[in-house]
């Protein structure tokens, strides 16, 4: 005959119809920013790995040097490097490869051996920590005067500080969003409690326990925030996909790899669940606090 109607129709209340939207937008932004932060961290880690994987040594030819003299100096550099602690693979780049790298500058039709090109040695670290760069640079200068060591330190610092700044910003933004979303839940639940104060009071006077009343709100807050955060997440993932497509159209050399690891994806999905949980618990606590103020 008569199915029991919802006692506290939180979702039919016009003010709470707003809540899924707010939560949706908040979760959307939080997921996007969180994804951006994760990607940034990935990119930074990548660059850092590449750059701190080793360094480059250039041995320029002295004016009027015989090719043999240059070879001897290269050998001295290689020997010094191999003896240094923490240094792993040491590879001498052939003059042809160096010439190729210089093509944009020198034009295509140069013969490598015609030019007094500097010789390049690429060095990989075996154990970054044990390498004493300053001592090594001094030793190399001794072994082959004029040797130039390029350990990317300057660029690394630039990028680390840039990425660090952006990550701080992302953290602040996520905190701000979380705070706003929580404030929204608190305000909306309070408002709901205020609007439905009459009903709550009647339930209270009829002998309903606080838990009975809180449960009604809590249950509905859960479903509302679930719907909001689910749609926010779906939209965010769609946006990320579109951005990925957009980035894919660009030259891949320009853009670093824009994809998240499996573990990071899981972390990303935790955002809406967390939002849901916070909303539900906030609703519960707000209602209980309001009830406790009743006689």
């Amino acid at each position: 005959m008569s199915r029991p109607q919802s006692l506290l129709p939180l979702s039919r209340e016009p003010s709470t119809r707003l809540l899924p939207w707010i939560i949706g937008v908040m979760v959307y932004l939080a997921v996007l920013i969180f994804a951006a932060a994760l990607l940034l961290a990935n990119i930074a880690a990548n660059w850092d790995r590449e750059m701190s994987a080793g360094f480059t040594v250039q041995i320029p030819p002295a004016a009027g040097d015989a090719p043999e003299a240059l070879e001897a100096r290269v050998a001295a550099v290689v020997k010094t490097l191999k003896e240094a602690a923490g240094v792993g693979e040491v590879a001498v780049v052939s003059p042809e490869v160096t010439a190729l790298a210089l093509e944009p500058w020198l034009g295509p039709n140069i013969e490598a051996h015609d030019l007094p090109l500097p010789r390049v040695v690429e060095v990989h670290f075996a154990d970054r920590a044990t390498v004493d760069m300053a001592a090594l640079i001094a030793k190399l200068e001794e072994a082959a005067p004029g040797t130039v060591v390029d350990n990317h330190e300057f660029w690394r610092n630039q990028i680390v500080s840039l990425v660090g700044g952006l990550e701080t910003l992302a953290t602040v933004a996520i905190a701000l969003i979380g705070f706003t979303a929580m404030a929204a839940v608190i305000f909306t639940t309070r408002s709901s409690v205020a609007i439905q104060r009459d009903v709550i009071e009647v339930l209270h006077l009829i002998g309903a326990t606080d838990d009975y009343v809180a449960h009604e709100f809590q249950r509905q807050a859960f479903w509302i925030s679930l719907s909001g955060s689910a749609s926010g997440t779906v939209l965010a993932v769609a946006t990320l996909y579109l951005l990925g497509q957009l980035a894919g159209n660009l030259d891949t050399a320009l853009m670093p790899d824009l994809s998240l690891g499996a573990w990071q994806s899981v972390l990303l999905w935790a955002v809406p669940l967390l939002a849901c949980l916070i909303a539900t618990m906030t609703a519960r606590r707000t209602v209980l606090a309001a009830l406790r103020r009743m006689p």
């Binding site: 005959m1 008569s2 029991p4 109607q5 006692l7 129709p9 039919r12 009459d198 009903v199 009071e201 009647v202 339930l203 209270h204 006077l205 009829i206 002998g207 309903a208 326990t209 009975y212 406790r292 006689p295």
Partner: protein, 224 residues
């Protein structure tokens, strides 16, 4: 059942709206509370249905000092009290049926039992055709009868009715009073605040008269 000792009551920091009220109601008794508008009738009932605490004195309900009952025990006490509020306090978005079913649902009764009892009672108060109407679509007197049905559905031990016949004609009023007497006969203690002199004089029950916050007399009946 109900005992007031030197009870004073005030709203917030306002003046005392009840002062030095002392009386005792025996289980199974039936009292009218009367007095001019603003005398404190509704306030007196509020103390009895635990919506307010006295600012001084003692209120004893079901042999317990209500100022000392822990918060967790209040719901259980309240379930033994049925209240007809002066302004009805129906849940506007629930049907008449669901409004009346509330006290049973809160107490955890089974749906079949609820369905049977609620339908029966609403039929008895003349709302058979309005079971599924929401309060805003009911007339004033119909809403009042829903409020009365909600107060009595769970067979309370103490029934408090505040002006329960202000919006119905005398024929229905008498019928509702019979309902209260029926409950009273089954052991419910009844307290009715009312201005309706014809009702008071028609049923010979003791009368508590309030004036300006004080209990000025308890007459054994209007006929006296």
């Amino acid at each position: 059942m109900v005992r007031f000792e030197n009870v004073g009551m005030r709203y917030g920091a306002g003046p005392e709206v009840l002062s030095d009220v002392t009386f005792a109601l025996k289980p199974g008794s039936f009292h009218f509370v009367t007095g001019p508008s603003g005398a404190g009738k509704s306030s007196l009932l509020k103390l009895m249905y635990l919506a307010h605490r006295p600012s001084r004195g003692f209120v004893t309900l079901f042999d317990r000092d209500v100022t000392r009952v822990p918060r967790g025990d209040l719901p259980e006490l309240r379930r033994r009290i049925g209240v007809v509020f002066q302004d009805f306090r129906l849940v506007q978005h629930l049907s008449a049926f669901d409004n009346v079913a509330l006290p049973m649902r809160v107490a955890g009764s089974r749906e079949e039992v609820i369905r049977k009892h609620v339908t029966e009672l609403l039929t008895w108060v003349g709302l058979k055709d309005h079971l599924h109407a929401r309060p805003p679509t009911l007339s004033g007197g119909q809403q009042q009868r829903v409020a009365i049905a909600r107060a009595v559905i769970a067979h309370p031990k103490l029934l408090l009715a505040d002006e329960p016949t202000g919006n119905v004609d005398d024929t229905i009023a008498v019928r509702l009073l019979y309902l209260f007497e029926e409950l009273n006969r089954m052991g419910t203690t009844v307290v009715i605040a009312t201005h309706n002199r014809s009702i008071i004089s028609r049923f010979s029950h003791p009368i508590m008269r309030l004036r300006e916050g004080g209990l000025v007399e308890i007459k054994q009946s209007a006929a006296e």
